[in-house]
């Protein structure tokens, strides 16, 4: 469901930790595959 080169995470806490380390923001995508 995503661009092949986008590395989607599936843990919010993990994403926040990476964002903090890298000075980035967290992009949350809530999607329905149907």
């Amino acid at each position: 469901m995503a661009g092949e080169n986008i590395q989607w995470r599936h843990s919010l806490q993990e994403a926040r930790r990476e964002a903090r380390q890298q000075g980035k923001l967290v992009l949350i995508d809530l999607f329905n595959p149907g």
């Binding site: 080169n5 989607w8 599936h10 964002a19 992009l27 995508d29 809530l30």
Partner: protein, 152 residues
Amino acid sequence: MMGAVTYPNPDVERFIGQHFIPVQFNVVEQPEVMDQFNASWTPTLIVQDAEGREHRRSQGYLDPKRFLAEMALAWLKDAIDRRIFPTARDRATEALEWTRGDPAREPEALYWAAVAAYKASEDANQLVQGWNRLLSEFPESEWAQRAEFIRL
């Protein structure tokens, strides 16, 4: 559609990689995330900082151009919300590029660009000049209405 059209776009992939850690939740498999994020529809895109503070939210499909405009505004708004105005001024330049020609988002970028320029320089003329440009180019926009008091 976001997965088929928007996310494979090279500019979208690049912009996400530069500024965001992307996290995705399938709401069929994890319906509880709708309550967790106070969401009512999909797709919902939420931009938060690492501390969980929300800076922007979008509901509904976005094609690549509109997605990039939304994300550029989120990147700008993060700096505005944290009151780091020299950074916001730089991000506003980028937001103006990504929102150009988008009648729903370019006025917002102009509004916040003027705020960032003013607060970074402490020169009120920066605000007046920026908002006058907004009022001239997008006089019917909601964002112009938020700035029109400067002409009273």
